[in-house]
Amino acid sequence: MTLTQFFQNVLNGLSIGSVYAIFALGYTLVFSILGIINFAHGSVFTLGAYFTYMLTGLAVGFNGILATTRLPFALPFILALLVGSGLAGLVGVLIERLAFRPLRKRGSDRLLSLVSSLGVAVVIVNLIQYLVGAEAYSYRSDPFGLGQPTVNFGTPERPIPVRSVQLVIFAVSVVILIVLTLIINRTRLGKALQAVAEDTVTARLLGINTDRLILFTFFVSGFLGGMAGTLVATSQSITGPYFGIAFGLKGLAVIVLGGLGNIPGAVVGGFVIGLAEAFVPSQYVAYKEAVAFALLFIILLIRPQGLLGRVQVQKV
């Protein structure tokens, strides 16, 4: 591997890794508070990408019942990204209200919530297919209006070109990560969230409206998932209603790798898997998907609690 390739791989790895990180945080936030994996998170990722697509004023294809329709307005891409992620956040809220809260109030087994979220995922995927068809969608080229497709990190003689869109993805994700970390560690809201995560009963006795905080958590989770979906789609395309399924599974690998329910763990896990994938030689690119899971397997053999996971201590 040349030095050029090495740098390219690192930058690409950081870029995709940062998207894995914000996506995985969506899982982790919900898990840390409810102890449940929200299996619909991958389909919220997909929805976010479609929302952004439509908000930029592009028409949907020819196969769904909404064929050839388009919104009567077109937002600039960054705005569409934020609004689209917000809409994905609202879908997250809806999922909590319809698929999680009723079961929680009945004191049902957590396994049931897992199944109901899986059901939501299936419904969303089919709904997308019904509405806009199964075809792939691409955003307008150069959605961020960067002008040039690559940025050179080397010298004119020894160029190290990196796709500009990857850099923007990295920047956006890092900003989101920093904002989220500040909210969780520095604000009253964040402390309350941590309290709910640690002990819901105590949180209630402190006067925290736990149901409202859980709704907020689902909103943030959906927002992060939807944003990840749009960011991935900017560098590739929306491959269809199943866009988020593989990504959703990889997100699970990320959070288990980092340590379930551990917020820094999700970030570290995202970057580790992103970098590992970026270093898969191009002739083996078909096996790229296997890398995340092979890595997961190996790391769990050494550290069953994940990279940053706490060993569960049974308290008396």
Partner: protein
């Protein structure tokens, strides 16, 4: 000289099922403003369930809970905390992964008067020098007695009108228990109304104005604390 007692909390015929089992049945209980009332009884008699019903952590099957003249039978926990009912729960339940300081700050979660919160914080630290020393430590690293002090101080941070204390002496060394009860007396002297659940019946009655005895989910005796202390049946069952 005696003024008419003003009830701050009234339970009328409260029945609660807990995990499919009748935990308390038809409980009537009154706490007047300024009193320390204790609820004593054996393990599993339903003492904690009664407090959980008042804090709205469990729903009564029937009956009414009136707080400061208001029916709170169907209110949410966060609402009743906001209205002035704080609880230091059984087993202390400090947030082990957060600092002592953050635990106390979260105690004031329902308040928005920042300057006053800071003042109360300093006051708690003056009252509990050991918490002040350990303010940046994770609460999980505190000793049992310190965690109990933190749980009480945290509840006080909400400036409650009614403080529910669930087994504050449980599992603590005798010297620490004495310290905890002197804290309870100080709170009372400062004007906080207290409903105290205790297994240590003698100590509880010695520090209370009135007492209720709970047996298998029902109240069997009630009266002024000194009267219960002298009652032969109570003596035999709980003070032996």
């Amino acid at each position: 000289m005696t003024t008419e007692p003003v009830p701050i909390l009234e339970l009328h015929g409260i029945t609660v099922n807990y995990g499919g089992i009748r935990a308390i049945e038809n409980i009537d209980l009154v706490v007047n403003t300024g009193e320390v009332v204790t609820l004593i009884g054996a393990n599993g008699a339903g003492k904690s369930t009664t407090l959980r019903a008042i804090s709205r952590l469990v729903n009564p099957l029937s009956g009414k809970i009136i707080y400061a003249g208001k029916d709170i039978t169907r209110a949410r926990t966060d609402e009743v905390v906001k209205w002035g009912i704080a609880q230091s729960p059984e087993g202390r339940r400090v947030l082990a992964r957060q600092s002592v300081l953050d635990n106390l700050r979260l105690g004031a979660y329902t308040r928005s008067d920042r300057a006053e919160i800071e003042r109360d914080l300093q006051q708690q630290f003056a009252l509990f020098p050991r918490l002040a020393e350990r303010r940046h430590q994770q609460a999980g690293t505190l000793s049992g007695g310190e965690q109990q002090m933190l749980a009480i101080a945290r509840a006080v941070m909400s400036r409650p009108r009614l403080l529910l204390l669930d087994e504050p002496s449980l599992g603590l060394a005798p010297l620490i228990v004495i310290e905890i009860f002197s804290i309870i007396r100080n709170l009372h002297a400062a004007g906080v109304t207290i409903l105290l659940v205790e297994q240590n019946a003698r100590l509880a009655l010695q520090n209370a104005d009135r007492g209720y005895v709970l047996e298998a989910g029902a109240i069997t005796f009630s009266g002024p604390a000194d009267q219960l202390l002298g009652d032969e049946r109570v003596k035999q069952a709980y003070l032996g």
